[in-house]
Amino acid sequence: MTAVPQAARSPLLSVRGLVKHFPIKKGLFGKPGGVVRAVDGVSFDVMPGETLGLVGESGCGKSTTGRMILRLIEPTAGSVEFDGIDLVTLDARAMRGLRRRIQVIFQDPFSSLNPRMTVGAIVREGLTIHKIAEGAAADARVRQLLEEVGLRAEYMSRYPHEFSGGQRQRIGIARALAVEPQFIVCDEPVSALDVSVQAQVINLMQDLQRDRGLAYLFIAHDLSVVEHIADRVAVMYLGKIVELGAAADLYREPLMPYTQALLSAVPVADPSVKKTRVMLQGDVPSPANPPSGCVFHPRCQHPARDAACAELVPPLEEKAPGHWAACIKQPPTEVDWKVQQAAGGTKPPTRYLPVLATST
C-alpha cells in the first residue's frame, strides 16, 4: 500500500446504510409475509488500490452485498458511491458505462464462462462492448491479457471445457481485466480450487493488483485466505458488519465475540499448536427473524453478556484506531453504562480477549 495518510485519500467506493430485504411470499397468490433481512444496514469504504476482505458464514449477506454494489441486485435502501457517482440511482445506460470500471470475478469457474464461446471471444467481449479495441488490435490485446494471467496466447481458440478449474479462473480474471477496471468484486474467487492451484491464483491476483493499482472487494468464507490477501477485513453476521479493521489487528485481537469464535474455529495445520476454541452452540438464527438487540447475543460467550444485549442494538464503533466493532460489552463504548442498566443490564462492560492459540 502507499504511504498516503488515510485522511488525505478519498475512498474509491463508499457504501452507506446498504439494505436488502427479500419479501417472503406465502400462499397461492404470493401474499407478502415478512421479509428476509439479507443485508441490514451495511457501511464501509474501499480505498484505491486496497483489498477489503468481506468474511462471514453462509447466509450472512456477504455475496448479496457484493451483488448490490454491482447492481446485479437492486438495494432496498442505502447508497453506493463509486468515485463520487451514486450507483444506486444511476440509469441502466450510465451503469453500463461504469461497468467498465467495476468488474467481477465469480466463484465457480465452471458456470461463469459461456461454454459456447471460445476463450478469445469471452475475453474480447468487454473490449467490443466498451468500444476499447476492434479487429487485429483487439486480438493482440486478448493475447496479451491471456499471457498476463499465465495462459498461452494460442488458447484463444479453445473452449472453456478444455481447461482445468484454475485455468478457467485465470480466464475469468483476464475477462475482468480486459476493460481496465479500477475495482473488482471478487466473490469467493478461489474457494472452488485445490490448495496448490488456489495459491497460484492468489499470487496472480496480488501481482495484478500491485502492477495496476486495482482495488478488490474480496468476499470469502476462508479466513486464512482473507488474512493473506486483505489489507482490511469486515466481518458480517446476519446481514450486519460486526467488526471491521486492519487485517493484522483484527486477526491478532478480534474484539467482537463472534469474530473470536469464528477465528478460533479455523483448523490450524500444525499439530503442535494447542488451541483454545470458543465453541459456538447451535446454528445461525434465521435472517427472516433475527434476534433483538445484538443479533449475536443468543450465542455470545462474552462474560458480561446480559439483558441489555437483547435490548440495545450495538453501534459499530471505533474501539481502537481504525478498529471497529459492534459490542456494547467490549470497552470503550459510547453506549453508556447507565443506558445499559436502564435496558436491564447487570454486568458492566469488561475487556474480553480469549486466548486463541498457543504454540507448545
Binding site: S164, V195, V197, H221, S224, V266, A269, P271, D283, A357
Partner: protein, 342 residues
C-alpha cells in the same frame, strides 16, 4: 508403510487397484494402495481433487460401479474377512453395520421423503437388530448422542427442515447407530461453515472416544487433518506418496508434494509472504506421467525421476515417502524451477 504390530489391524489394504474403463482410456484412479488402520485409530487421507482418495474410500466397501472395477489381486481385509471375495448379501451385512459411511453432502445422503428418525431406524431394521419400536428408540437415542436438541421431535422431521450442520449430525447418527468398528468419513465438513465444522469435528472426536471407533477421514484440508488424525496418508496420482504420524508429517514432510501442499496453504497468524505454489495441475488418471508421477511439478526432480518409478521408501519409524530423495538426499539442495508451467 505397514508396521508389523502385535495386535491385528482392523483394516488391512494391500495393493488396491481400482480402474475405470472409459472411452478416453483406462483411468487408474487408485493404483496399488496399501495401508492399515488400527482399532480406535483416526487416519487422515489427504490429497487434491483427482488424487484417488474418494475412490479408495468407496472401494473399501466395494461401492464401485461400472465402468469402474476393483482389479484382481487387490486385497481388503477387514476384521479378518476378505471384503473383495464377499457375496453381495454378506457385503450388505458389513456396510452400515460394521463399516459406517459419512458423506460430504448430507442433503444427498438423506432421503427427502422420509423423516430422519425413520431413516436411522431403517438402518437398524435392515440389519435385523430390533423391532420397529426398538429401532425407533435407538434412532432417537442416537440423535441425542450426536447432540441434536429435542431428539424426539426432531426424529419426526424431514431433512429439509434441518440446517446443514444438523443434517450432518443425522448422517453421523446413521453411520454410528449400529456401532460400527470403522467409520469412513469422506469430506464430512467440507460443505459446512467453519464454526459448524468445529462442532462436527469435536463430535466425531467425542464419539470415537466413547465407542472406540476407527475413523478414516478423507479430506483436502490439512488443518482438519492436523487437528483430528493421529496418522496421515498423502495421496497423489492414485498412489500413496507419503505416510507418517501427524506430528512427524507436519514437522518433517519428506515428499516434495506434501511439502508443496503445506507451503501453498495460507495460515491464520502466519507472516504474509508470497505463497509458494505447485505449478501445473494434477495429471489425468488415464495418463499418469512416467517415473515419479509428480516429477514434472517437482522442484527437485532429476533424470532418474522421469525414468524410474519410486518405491515407497521407509525413511523412519512409521514414516514412508515415495521419493528418490530418500536414497539421494543431497539432491534436496539442488532446487530448481519445475518443468510444468501454470
Amino acid at each position: 508403510m505397514a508396521q508389523p504390530t502385535t495386535t491385528e489391524p482392523l483394516l488391512s489394504v494391500r495393493d488396491l487397484r481400482t480402474y475405470f474403463y472409459t472411452e478416453a482410456g483406462v483411468a487408474r484412479a487408485v493404483d496399488g494402495v496399501s495401508f492399515d488402520i488400527a482399532r480406535g485409530e483416526t487416519v487422515g487421507l489427504v490429497g487434491e481433487s483427482g488424487c484417488g482418495k474418494s475412490v479408495t474410500a468407496f472401494s473399501l466397501i466395494r461401492l464401485v460401479s461400472p465402468p469402474g472395477r476393483i482389479e484382481a489381486g487387490s486385497r481388503i481385509v477387514f476384521d479378518g474377512r476378505e471384503i473383495t471375495s464377499l457375496s453381495e448379501k454378506e457385503l450388505r451385512a458389513v456396510r452400515g453395520a460394521q463399516i459406517g459411511f459419512v458423506f460430504q453432502e448430507p442433503m444427498t445422503a438423506l432421503n427427502p421423503v422420509f423423516t430422519v428418525g425413520d431413516q436411522i431406524a431403517e438402518v437398524v431394521r435392515v440389519h435385523h437388530a430390533g423391532s420397529r419400536r426398538e429401532a425407533w428408540d435407538r434412532a432417537v437415542t442416537m440423535l441425542e448422542t450426536v447432540g441434536i436438541p429435542s431428539p424426539e421431535q426432531r426424529a419426526r422431521e424431514y431433512p429439509h427442515q434441518l440446517s446443514g450442520g444438523m443434517r450432518q449430525r443425522v448422517v453421523i447418527a446413521m453411520a454410528l447407530v449400529m456401532n460400527p468398528a470403522l467409520v469412513i468419513a469422506d469430506e464430512p465438513t467440507t460443505a459446512l461453515d467453519v464454526t459448524i465444522q468445529a462442532q462436527i469435528l469435536e463430535l466425531l472426536g467425542d464419539l470415537q472416544q466413547r465407542f472406540g471407533t476407527s475413523i478414516l477421514l478423507i479430506t483436502h484440508d490439512l488443518g482438519v487433518v492436523a487437528e483430528t488424525a493421529s496418522r496421515v496418508i498423502v495421496m497423489y496420482g492414485g498412489e500413496i506418496v507419503e505416510e507418517a504420524p501427524v506430528g512427524e508429517l507436519f514437522a518433517r514432510a519428506h515428499h516434495p508434494y506434501t511439502e508443496g501442499l503445506l507451503n501453498a496453504m495460507p495460515q491464520v497468524g502466519q507472516e504474509r509472504e508470497r505463497l509458494a505454489t505447485i505449478p501445473g495441475s494434477v495429471p489425468a488418471p488415464t495418463a499418469w506421467p512416467s517415473g515419479c508421477r509428480f516429477h514434472d511439478r517437482c522442484p527437485y526432480a532429476w533424470e532418474r525421476c522421469s525414468a524410474e518409478h519410486p518405491p515407497l521408501y521407509q525413511i523412519g519409524e512409521s514414516h514412508a515417502s515415495r521419493c528418490h530423495l530418500a536414497s539421494e538426499p543431497a539432491r534436496r539442495a539442488q532446487k530448481h524451477e519445475p518443468m510444468a508451467v501454470a
